[in-house]
């Protein structure tokens, strides 16, 4: 039997081995610990823990607010990236650097700052309060914090793709008779789409796990503004390790399912686009 090389590029065994060991150490082993701790519970205990009314309310808030935050970021982040890439204006570098602040800032500082600004006596809160809009200590505050921490993800994933895209493409579309709307939806958006979805996914994933910044602005009222990570801390505070990890297991499961779904969606749209464009070619 002759040995057949698995690829032309050498070093597959070494790099793959390293990848597996690295992923196991950093991701797999710590996460499997979550499942082992949860295994201390019987199925019935697990079920009653994760379906308690307070826990369900917290899941709804955590996933709901994260989806809203990530969606806001998908739209506004795209806009910010567009402005940064396509226009030249004084202070552009400064604005560009500011985008990363939510990354660098300790989340607790972000939470305290947001609460200070949006509470009823804060700079912004004092104008919203007479209108009946309460941000701090309500679910709206949770959305605000999750939007804040998610902003860089969309901007930073979309920006490089936008930079690669040539403005001539849009000009060509226009000169070939495309309306502005057609240019945006058929020429500009399609190549941006994968980056946008990735940014959205990252912002969402980060938001689901966020604790530090939310805790100060949420108000933490049971059934109303408690996020799921807070309930995990609550369980830990009672030395209920298994209960805490049970909530975490459900969060892991739901997050993984959502991320997988988004990835599949992206895969299908890419396939479909490729088929469409081939069909277009054949038709033409």
């Amino acid at each position: 039997m002759s040995r057949r090389p698995r690829g032309i590029l050498p070093g597959f065994g070494l790099t793959m081995g390293f990848t597996l060991v690295y992923l196991s150490l950093i991701v797999l082993i710590p996460l499997s610990g979550v499942f082992f701790k949860t295994a201390a519970l019987t199925w019935g205990q697990f079920w009653s823990t994760v379906t308690a009314p307070r826990v369900l309310a917290a899941y709804r808030l955590s996933f709901g607010a994260s989806l809203i935050g990530a969606s806001i970021n998908a739209v506004c982040g795209l806009l910010v990236a567009w402005v940064l890439v396509r226009y030249r204006f004084p202070g552009r570098r400064l604005v560009d650097a500011m985008i990363d602040l939510p990354f660098a800032l300790p989340t607790a500082v972000a939470g305290i700052a947001l609460t200070a600004v949006y509470s009823a006596h804060g700079w912004i809160g004092r104008w919203l309060d007479p209108l009946g809009i309460r941000v701090a200590f309500t679910p709206l505050g949770v959305v605000t914090a999750l939007t804040f921490i998610g902003l860089p993800f969309v901007v930073r994933t979309v920006q490089p793709v936008l930079e690669e895209m040539e403005a001539e493409l849009e000009e060509a579309a226009a000169s070939l008779g495309a309306t502005r709307w057609q240019t945006v939806t058929r020429v500009v958006l399609p190549p941006l789409w994968p980056a946008l979805v990735t940014g959205f996914t990252l912002a969402f994933a980060r938001a689901v796990g966020e604790y530090g910044s939310v805790i100060f602005i949420a108000g933490n009222m049971p059934m109303v503004s408690e996020i799921a990570p807070l309930l995990i801390i609550t369980k830990l505070e009672q030395f209920d390790y298994a209960g805490a990890t049970a909530i975490a297991v459900v969060m892991l499961g739901v997050s993984f399912a959502l991320l997988l779904m988004i990835n599949l969606l992206q895969y299908w749209t890419r396939q479909k686009r490729w088929l469409d464009s081939t069909a277009d070619l054949l038709d033409g």
């Binding site: 308690a52 200070a116 804060g122 200590f137 933490n220 009222m221 505070e237 030395f239 209920d240």
Partner: protein
């Protein structure tokens, strides 16, 4: 060989780790310096005490998970019980090994109100009135907040002749007046002081004194209720760790020194109520006169209080569940 040599040279270096909770940072900075001097004079050894501070429950969890604390000085006995139950690092009867339930200094729960006390808050009854906004952290995440909750509950029991149902209703009404449940005592203080939210903050007496000192009496003032709880933050040697480090003797001396006149004086200077008569007499005029009840006499100990009130599905949870 080393030990012999060290004994001979009489300059042993000993290190202790004291794992404590948040507001004791300054207290133990002073106390550690005093103890080092006392210990050097007594034995010739140099002792360095390292401090670790954080939320009481977090700190207990860190010790359970392997933080090598020679002594723990936490906010409530329940947290040290947990170290005993979950990790077996000290015997279950730890609390009877030192005088006064192992609590060398005490405190209580008082009200911090805004300058001039605009809402005229004098006692617990005023906290359940409509339109009064009360700031207290979540008792499920904050050890300090559990004292607040139990203080209110104990007041209600005393006022309504031990009627559990009335007490539950009273505490329920009080928490209806709480607009924000911060996760820890520091967060609640920030909400009250910096955010300007709420009319009254439930606080440990020592923290209330600190707040008045730092913010100035022109911002906030202390109101002492007629009845409150005797907060007993306990201390203990973590046997297994101290034995491994061979520091048991010095760790025991460290805690015993807390009960000495010098230790009591330092505690009093940091606004904790001293146990020792002589020091207590000296500070008698300083601490407001409040009738105090203990967790043991009113709730049958921390384990029981925890089970009845704060465990999942306990009375605190029921207050918030839709009926």
């Amino acid at each position: 060989m080393f030990v012999v040599f060290a004994e001979f040279a009489h300059a042993n270096e000993v290190a202790l780790l004291n794992v404590s909770y948040d507001p004791t940072r300054e207290l133990y900075q002073d106390f550690n310096a005093a103890f080092a001097k006392y210990w050097a004079a007594k034995t010739g050894d140099t002792v360095t005490v390292r401090q670790s501070h954080g939320g009481s429950g977090n700190q207990a969890r860190a010790v359970i998970d392997g933080l090598e604390a020679d002594v723990v000085t936490l906010a409530l006995a329940y947290d040290i019980d947990a170290i005993s139950d979950k990790a077996g690092l000290l015997p279950p009867n730890w609390q009877s090994r030192l005088p006064n339930h192992s609590a060398p200094y005490t405190s209580t729960i008082v009200f911090l109100v805004r300058k001039g006390n605009p809402k005229g808050i004098k006692d617990w009854d005023d906290l359940v009135k409509p339109g009064v906004s009360v700031i207290t952290p979540n008792p499920k995440t904050s050890g300090g907040a559990r004292w607040n909750y139990l203080a209110a509950w104990g007041y209600a029991l005393k006022t309504y002749g031990n009627d559990e149902k009335k007490a539950r209703e009273f505490v329920g009404r009080l928490y209806k007046n709480v607009p924000v449940l911060d996760s820890g005592a520091r967060g609640a203080t920030t909400t009250f002081v910096e955010r300007g939210i709420g009319d009254v903050l439930l606080a440990w007496e020592n923290e209330a004194f600190l707040a008045v000192k730092e913010l100035g009496p022109d911002k906030v003032e202390i109101v002492a209720p007629s009845v409150s709880i005797l907060a007993e933050p306990p201390v203990a040697v973590v046997d297994k760790v101290a034995d491994r480090h061979q520091t048991r003797a010095v760790a025991q001396a460290y805690l015993a020194y807390l009960y000495s006149p010098e230790g009591q004086e330092i505690a009093a200077r940091h606004y904790y109520r001293p146990r020792l008569e002589s020091v207590a007499a000296k500070y008698a005029g300083f601490f407001p006169n409040v009738k105090l009840f203990t967790v043991d006499e009113m709730f049958g100990g921390w384990r029981r209080a925890q089970r009845t009130h704060f465990e999942d599905g306990g009375i605190f949870d029921q207050i918030y569940l839709p009926k």
